[in-house]
Amino acid sequence: MTPILRARLQSSLLSAAVLVLLLVIWHVATLPTAAARVATSLTPEQVEYQKLLGKDPAAATAKAAGFPTLALMGETVVRNLAHPFYDNGPNDKGIGIQLGWSLLRVGLGFGLAAIVAIPFGFLIGMSPLIYRALDPFIQLLKPISPLAWMPIALYTIKDSSISGIFVIFICSVWPMLINTAFGVSNVRREWLNVARTLEVTPLRKAFQVILPAAAPTILTGMRISMGIAWLVIVAAEMLVGGTGIGYFVWNEWNNLALSSVIFAILVIGVVGMALDLLFAWAQRAVSYVD
């Protein structure tokens, strides 16, 4: 076995061990208490009372209270993944449909942000004057939380879906803008000089010298932005509801159905990871060894 393969195998085994450990801890922590099993000495009225609380005193195990057990978790996962695209009206749709909506909104918001941020970033990166002029605005707007933008968006835009997309836009535009500006302004002087001595037109220089040179930095910005956008959409959807994975979380939360909430969180994590991997691949595609 080559050293690289051995290293990979070792780290995989370690990951698997950590996962097993976590599952074991989960299982032990959610074991039903023994007290529930002592039920023989209850009066009929007390039995009925227990039943109204959703507990069956005759059963061996107690009702699932608080954190769900591994078994319940597993059942939830299977149930949701078995029928991901069901549609029971506006308030009850499968996880696949909800994810689709969220990804659509993220795609639109992120796409808009890219269309605005990259050209602007170019402009700012190439002109120190514009950079200094716009910098205070960027620094002021950048740290504002998406949840703070939400009420303003709802009030002015009035449509909850478009507000959600706007909030994603306004939060994911900054990393792309700043990284593009940075990448463009840090293009090696040498390459620019080569372009000058070859009398390269400004447009050609922008697309064939500056863009490829700054591409790794720009893609880093896009990757960060995508992470933020995915974060924001969940929060935004929880606030406005309707459709989407954030709404799914909120709806299950309303029912205090923790296992569904946890399932939704795991789905959010998995999708977020997939999106990040996508951008990591794109980043590798444009990177170069200097």
């Binding site: 109204l52 209270a65 029971n88 009035k158």
Partner: protein, 457 residues
């Protein structure tokens, strides 16, 4: 049925009987024959009646009416009034059934048992029966309900009954005229406390407690404040009242962030079910028959879609009717439990709707009228809410109690629709109520508002 010409400056305008029924004072007590008139045909008599009602509403003072007509003349008056008010709409309302202007509607709701009639009308087919295709949209909170009504994303919605008053008056939002068509439910709320307060049930000892309420402009807020004030606690200074969305109330109770809440079901029962709290007091024990939530829409919607509005009315009233019968309650619990609606365990809803429930202290209680579904939007209810809003400083200055109440709570229309469905309608427009032993007389609203020891300074 004869009516006097409302544009006649020389004759007094006596519209109808004081009981609110659709007949002359002279006809009171006699069942009016459908379509029977003193001379004119049924339809135009109806139109005359509607117009007369309008004029009366605009110019309730007889002397003012006559002076106005003498000043501008009957023709001008008629044209002016017709241009401002939806005579056509109101006529349509008064008719049997007209063609629907809009068939696909979006109706918002919050996933609580208060909205039972308007929710159950969906799966039980009452909307479809009226020719409507209604999408029931679960909404994240009351503020969003308000916003989506203001920007017309929803056609009609589940409201907290004080909300249309507040929105029409521009309290806490842009002012836009909203109307209450029916009351969705009466009673059906409770004060729930955390388990640690099992031995501390005297409200006089509750200084420093933190309570959750679903919204500022809600009966929950007003009832809780009333209850605390009666026990000598000033709700603004002695305790903390927080606005919390109902589903989060149970979680907050479990986490110890709040000591209790006055909230809508099913979350009181859910707190018991999850063994984090107990039911201290049902809201019907504060005021038996108090309104809670309402079904309403904007004045603009009513004007533009009078027939659709009438159809919605009929569907929701049919549902209320069915919900009032205790025999149907278990079925209804089953129908509204799925994920698309309330998304709660069925047994929780059954306990709320049938009134046979576990109270969190080890007892099974049997209170069949724990939740009620009487749809009549009494204007006196509106007046009570307004007095409380004045008491706690939400409104400042003089309040035209009767005027606003009659404008926002569409009592006459509700009664008309109930009549059209063949139901019995109660008499009158104003009733007295007893709240925690104290009588409320709607005709003495201003005095009532000022009569409390604890109020906003």
């Amino acid at each position: 049925m004869s009516t006097h010409d409302p544009y006649d400056a020389d004759r007094p305008l006596r519209l109808s009987c004081a009981c609110g029924g659709a007949h002359d004072a002279a006809d009171h007590g006699r069942e009016p024959a459908a379509g029977a008139t003193g001379g004119a045909s049924g339809a135009s008599a109806m139109a005359e009646r509607v117009e007369a009602t309008l004029v009366r509403a605009l110019l309730p003072n007889e002397r003012l009416r006559r002076r106005f007509l003498q000043a501008v003349g009957a023709q001008t008056a008629r044209a002016a009034i017709a241009s401002l008010l939806p005579i056509g709409a109101l006529e349509a309302m008064a008719q049997e059934k007209g063609p629907l202007e809009k068939k696909e509607l979006k109706v918002g709701f919050i996933a609580i048992t208060c909205a039972t009639p308007l929710i159950m009308a969906g799966p039980l087919g009452f909307y479809r029966q009226q020719g409507l295709d209604v999408a029931l949209i679960k909404t994240a909170g009351w503020a969003l309900i308000r916003d989506k009504m203001l920007n017309k994303e929803y056609d009609a919605t589940h409201f907290l009954s004080p909300m249309p008053l507040a929105i029409s008056m521009g309290l806490g939002s842009v002012a836009q005229p909203m109307r209450v068509a029916t009351i969705q439910n009466i009673n059906g709320q409770a004060i729930t406390l955390a388990n640690k307060h099992k031995e501390n049930r005297d409200p006089r000892n509750w200084k420093g407690f933190k309570f959750a309420i679903p919204f500022e402009y809600s009966m929950h807020n007003f009832l809780l404040r009333y209850y605390l004030a009666e026990a000598g606690i000033n709700p603004d200074t002695d305790v903390q009242l927080r606005v919390v969305p109902p589903p989060e109330m149970v979680a907050n109770l479990r986490a110890g962030n709040i000591d209790g809440f006055l909230g809508p079901d099913p979350f009181n029962q859910r707190a018991v079910y999850d063994e984090v709290g107990f039911i201290h007091l049902l809201s019907k024990d504060i005021w038996d028959g108090h309104p809670c939530c309402a079904f309403g829409t904007s004045e603009a919607f009513i004007q533009q879609n009078p027939n659709t509005f009438a159809a919605l009315y009929r569907a929701v009233l049919t549902a209320s009717d069915m919900a009032r019968d205790p025999k149907n309650r278990e079925l209804i619990a089953k129908v509204i439990a799925p994920a698309a609606y309330l998304n709660q365990p069925e047994t929780v809803l059954t306990q709320v709707l049938t009134g046979k429930y576990a109270d969190g202290l080890g007892n099974i209680k049997n209170v069949p009228d724990r939740a009620g579904f009487d749809p009549v939007p009494w204007q006196s209810m509106a007046v009570w809410m307004l007095t409380q809003m004045k008491r706690w400083g939400y409104i400042k200055g003089d309040v035209d109690y009767k005027g606003i109440a009659e404008q926002v709570f569409l009592l006459t229309d509700a009664k008309k629709q109930m009549k059209a469905l063949g139901g019995k309608t109660p008499d009158g427009a104003y009733r007295n109520y007893t709240v925690l032993g104290k009588t409320f007389d709607p005709t003495k609203a201003a005095e009532y508002a000022a009569s409390f020891a604890i109020r906003k300074a």
